[in-house]
């Protein structure tokens, strides 16, 4: 199995998984079921995390399809651009579902503004993702080709050099030498916020500074989200500008660990174990394991990221 297989496998999740999430969410709103609503939020959030892997494996798949005799660059470009837009909306949706899941512990439900935001973003994302998936499917299924041909021929008709959104960004980064270092600086700042918040929360669960009330420590999690968001945006700025750099095993491992971290933080938001321990009682073993794995996952992400220039081919 290579990265192209991985892309073909994972690219069903942003549509099928997200579709199930949206359907459950709408169903929960209609039926007024809080449990189903929380489950739907979890599915939408996890789909967002897996979509990162689905997107970044697309670069290798693009190279593989482009090298086949009937591989059309214009058609692949159309799929890539549609996928990038859908990806951005998907991550925005995941951001607000995270906030909703986090605040659930205090509110016991989803705040009205957040419910509306998630509903609108999720429906738009589903439409955009279905379009990206359709364009992707048509690449290898000529029998259903329709939309792709019209999009590609429209692009072919444009005189001069045509640049996809991703390529224009890549060109912008190439021509403006301040962009890359600035994104790197922000990526390191995000790293510190995320890693610092994770350390304090996870070490407290493991028994450090027991005078800190667990409910108060829970308030630090959004600092981690802030750091992660900063790093997702700057990380995508790197990837979209120079996707050819991010192809090795180490980069995929880093993205895989990020997806695992999403499952980890979801456990902390859904399970009550860590947050309802009475003073003097033992922390449940599940919460301890989750705290240890969170620290290991983030150290792993840092290791993979920092080793990229050494073991991969990026700078």
């Amino acid at each position: 199995m290579n990265v192209v297989h991985l892309h073909l496998l994972l690219n069903h999740i942003p549509t099928v998984g997200f579709g199930i999430g949206v359907a459950l969410f709408v169903g929960a709103l209609v039926a007024k079921s809080r449990d189903v609503k929380r489950a739907a939020l979890s599915i939408l959030f996890l789909t967002g995390a897996v979509t990162i892997l689905a997107y970044v494996t697309g670069s290798d798949a693009k190279a593989a399809v482009a090298s086949t005799p009937d591989g059309s660059t214009a058609q692949i470009d159309a799929h890539e651009t549609a996928a990038l837009v859908a990806f951005a909306f998907m991550q925005a949706t995941a951001f607000f579902t995270w906030l909703g899941l986090w605040a659930w512990r205090r509110l016991g439900d989803l705040a009205g503004w957040n419910r509306a935001t998630i509903l609108i973003l999720a429906v738009v994302t589903f439409g955009l993702m279905a379009r990206a998936a359709n364009l992707g499917g048509e690449l290898r299924h000529p029998e259903i080709r329709g939309v792709l041909d019209s999009v590609a021929s429209a692009a072919d008709g444009v005189p001069g050099e045509r640049l996809t959104a991703a390529r224009s960004w890549g060109k912008y980064v190439e021509e403006h030498s301040w962009v890359w270092p600035t994104c790197e600086i922000l990526h390191f700042v995000g790293l510190c916020l995320l890693f610092g918040a994770a350390l304090v929360v996870d070490l407290r669960i493991l028994g450090v500074a027991k005078q800190l009330p667990l409910a108060a420590v829970y308030q630090l999690l959004p600092l981690g989200l802030l750091g992660f968001t900063l790093n997702l945006v700057t990380g995508m700025a790197f990837f979209v500008a120079t996707p050819q750099q991010y192809t090795g095993f180490l980069f995929l491992l880093k993205m895989g660990l990020v997806a695992l971290a999403a499952i980890n933080v979801l456990y902390f938001m859904l399970a009550d174990g860590a947050w309802t321990v009475a003073e003097g009682d033992h922390m449940p073993i599940g919460a301890r394991l989750a705290a240890v794995s969170a620290i290991l996952i983030w150290v792993g992400v840092l290791f993979c990221g920092r080793m990229l220039p050494a073991l991969g081919n990026s700078f």
């Binding site: 790293l191 510190c192 610092g196 005078q211 409910a215 308030q219 220039p309």
Partner: protein
């Protein structure tokens, strides 16, 4: 310059630069990044708490994490010294390197002031934090941000 070149060309420094082992250059850079995450990350948590983030979190027990912050600092002092030795002829003549050291020195001095002014106060969690505490939190964040910026830019100037 002769001495710097001798350090840089020493057997151990040549090995660090050329080996594929994870104990080589990028392995040490990884330790440096993790140390930064620990030191700056915990600093950020304390500073942002002083500025009003996560208001339910009592500050006094957060002092326990300051010893961990020092662990991160020493990880970076050691890994940073090794990284410096491998590229001494460039780094030590680069003004940016001294800017980074200055920011770190200021950040550590700031930490001591914060300890004396905030953590030594027995009423730390019962009365509102003073303006001085807030100013120290802002300057602390600014110093570490300065150190990160100078440190990142050092990487781009190394090849010059």
């Amino acid at each position: 310059m002769h001495l710097l070149l001798r350090i840089e060309q020493s057997g151990i420094c040549q090995w660090i630069r050329s080996t594929d082992s994870i104990f080589g250059y990028y392995g040490i850079l990884t330790v440096h990044a993790i140390g930064m995450g620990i030191a700056v990350g915990i600093n950020a948590c304390v500073n942002l708490r002083i500025l009003g983030f996560a208001p339910a979190l009592p500050l006094a027990p957060m002092e326990k994490f300051l010893s961990l912050l020092w662990l991160g600092f020493w990880m970076n002092a050691v890994s940073g010294t090794i990284l410096l030795a491998t590229d001494a002829t460039h780094k030590l003549v680069n003004p940016d390197f001294y800017v980074k050291m200055l920011f770190i020195a200021l950040a550590l001095a700031n930490l001591q002031l914060l300890k004396a002014h905030v953590f030594r106060d027995p009423q730390i969690d019962t009365k509102p934090l003073s303006t001085k505490a807030r100013v120290l939190a802002v300057t602390s964040l600014a110093c570490w941000l300065g150190a990160i910026i100078a440190g990142r830019l050092l990487a781009y100037q190394a090849a010059m």
